[in-house]
Symmetry: C2
Subunit: 423 residues, 2 copies
């Protein structure tokens, strides 16, 4: 099935907003085994919209149109859809009632120009939008099925998942159940993971499992798209492959599916009745910022201390008689972590101390990270060197700190070598 | 002049990467008074690339093609460009020598498949890429001028600015000098700024200044695009309008052009020989993370303390006999800021304490921000209430904290009402 995405609106065309809806739609379709073959972006312009609809109708089986369903005069999708299909616009009384009700529940009267949102091309199939006034709809133009969606991301996302993906799968004749299984890892690059997982798709019958990756430094997402006749069939096909991914990527897997590294760390702290103190230098609060605001963090996140001037560090954590902190080392980090833990009255402390290279920022600019995690009777330390510019070092150090903490809480080794570090 | 953007590559088409190059190119052209009228995205597919080139050649005056100039087999831009123009590919000896030199300078031998990057359609004009091996080029296909650019963002950006924009301006017959003047503000929404600046374009002759906005919460960017015959002419036309923007937006302007809020704050601290201590709660390190990692921050950023449990706050800043910290107020924030300043030995302290609403996250979930800035002999406090969900409150509080510090350092009132706060 040839699928196209047609994004409309001056704000997207002029780059005033980055078009994240396009990549969202495309990824979501890939995840269920469908492929987008063409993307078009045009502004709020009648002539160009009509031409874009005509071109897409001539070469695609299905077209997802995004934007242009709002109440204002520059929202043209229904009008141009009707013109392209050669049908009149007619009032959808059900949607009008729904909108009036939407406003009434918020103790407001519906403005007259919202009525426009209930005008649909004759014969259109309504695609429900439970969280907004823009009415989605589907319509044949030429031999293609067009699906019209709102520009507001959360409205689009819900309509795509609940209304459009099932219709596309039905039209494509795919098995009814497709599941996306995701593994998040830190420390292995995409090509390394690809070679580690070589041949893994063959563990499931008939090409029913497809392997893919999405790299967003410093994390890598490994994706398995599984097709089956029903949920049980999918789980049966997925199980051996997922088990093998876990075995091969091992300790590098930090979370699965919708879980995050910081969420896993916080959950482990809460599970263990533990609490956390953090000491950061060049990461400058980014480690705390990943975890400290999460719901529930108020029960486990005790304190974070950020310093740039390392000569001040000993005094700041109440370290009077410890080692001199002039030269950084894992031992310094250990002393700092122990002191910070005691000072904050936490069960665990993480110290991430960074020595930056001298000189201007450049692609080979680097930093040396000394980190330590301490409890009352256990300590782990780690040294790593990361190159790639100031921002790269900073991002890498944040992730390394959080991931070592995850490993510590899960009783895994914190010193396993990662692909991003230099000897 | 009708300009199109044609983005190529499976990674963009499948949404594996978000297409930020499109919005970058489009904005950059808008900023110099040129408009993009059509955008196309296709994958690394010969047939579809050729069709996309053919369609764009038939309806545009200029086409910017992004991606497909790499050394691998799926990089097809030169090949398809030659096919569309009906010319052969020929080796560009200058570019080959340049690439070999590029590798030699890095003490490496050029891999054989890089030779492909020096094969250009016959008659193509080279567009220099001083920071990569992908050779940009321009070529007529049909009646349109095509400009081929690399997919690597920093290579694209440099080529666009240095090579392509001047050529497009020359072709469009625009005045040779176009300047973009930008004002960054915090605290006024786009429609409010629009009404405050009503009629401002008329202060320059002949429509030579165009007003625009780009909102990225919590900041707003106000843009003036100025056209003139030469730099002096541009400055003469800009001066009265820019002066009026400064007058009308007043204290809300936090920086101009490439400067940032955190950069302005750090520069003011360094100028005044000052140093900073920060205390954060729900912002959880985000305020520190904006400023603490900047080059030079090591000389002014003294310490930041992050706590979520406010009962611990007094002790953490060494506040023994101060007011009880159970109920937050601007006075509590003042006491905390004073104590944190003394504790860190800094000249200035910023305390941003947040009471979050109870309950689950939702669009009307809010928080009350109590902030204080203290020096040895001066204090300013501020209370603000922000709604919009946990993340919105957090983003707003970070910006409010930094902007109040900017105002304090510039001797401006910190209590001026902002559009985003509730009574």
């Amino acid at each position: 099935m040839r699928i196209e995405i047609l994004c409309t609106g001056d704000e997207v065309l002029t780059g005033k907003i980055t078009n994240t809806n396009f990549s969202y739609i495309s990824q979501k379709l890939e995840d269920v085994g469908l492929s987008v073959v063409w993307g078009t972006t045009v502004g709020d312009d009648r002539e160009r919209l009509l031409e874009a609809f005509r071109l897409a109708a001539g070469r695609a089986d299905a077209v997802i149109v995004n934007g242009g369903l709002g109440p204002t005069v520059d929202d043209l999708s229904q009008e141009i859809a009707a013109a392209a299909a050669g049908v009149p616009l007619v009032l959808n009384a059900d949607w009008l009632a729904k909108m009036e009700n939407f406003f009434a529940r918020r103790s407001r009267v519906m403005p007259p120009n919202n009525r426009k949102q209930a005008m649909l091309p004759e014969g259109a199939e309504v695609l429900d939008n439970p969280i907004g006034t823009a009415c989605g709809f589907a319509l044949d133009i030429g031999t293609a099925r067009f699906f019209f969606t709102p520009g507001v991301p959360r409205e689009l996302r819900r309509m795509l998942e609940e209304q459009i993906v099932p219709r596309l799968l039905a039209r494509s004749g795919s098995p009814t159940t497709i599941v996306l299984k995701r593994f998040h890892s830190y420390g292995i690059g995409e090509s390394h993971a690809d070679s580690l997982l070589e041949g893994i798709e063959a563990l499931a019958p008939d090409g029913s499992v497809k392997l893919g990756f999405r790299a967003h430094y410093p994390q890598l997402e490994t994706k398995l798209t599984v097709r089956g006749t029903d949920p049980e069939d999918v789980q049966r096909k997925l199980a051996p492959v997922a088990g093998e991914v876990r075995r091969r990527l091992g300790n590098f897997i930090l979370a699965e599916d919708d879980r995050t590294l910081e969420g896993v760390v916080l959950a482990a702290l809460l599970d263990q009745g533990a609490s956390l103190a953090v000491v950061e230098t060049f990461t400058a609060g980014q480690i705390a910022a990943r975890i400290g605001h999460l719901p529930g963090a108020e029960r486990a996140f005790r304190r974070s201390l950020v310093l740039r001037d390392l000569t001040d560090l000993g005094a700041a954590v109440g370290l009077e008689d410890g080692p001199a902190l002039g030269a950084l080392s894992p031992e310094t980090a250990e002393a700092v972590a122990r002191a910070a833990r005691a000072q904050a009255g936490a069960t665990h402390a993480l110290a991430v101390l960074i020595e930056l290279d001298e000189g201007a920022d450049a692609i080979d600019f680097g930093g040396t990270i000394h980190l330590a995690i301490a409890t009352a009777n256990r300590v782990a330390t780690r040294r790593a060197r990361i190159l790639g510019g100031r921002e790269w070092v900073r991002l890498g150090a944040v992730e390394l700190g959080l991931d070592c903490l995850r490993r510590f809480l899960q009783n895994l080794p914190v010193t396993e070598r990662i692909d991003f570090e230099r000897a």
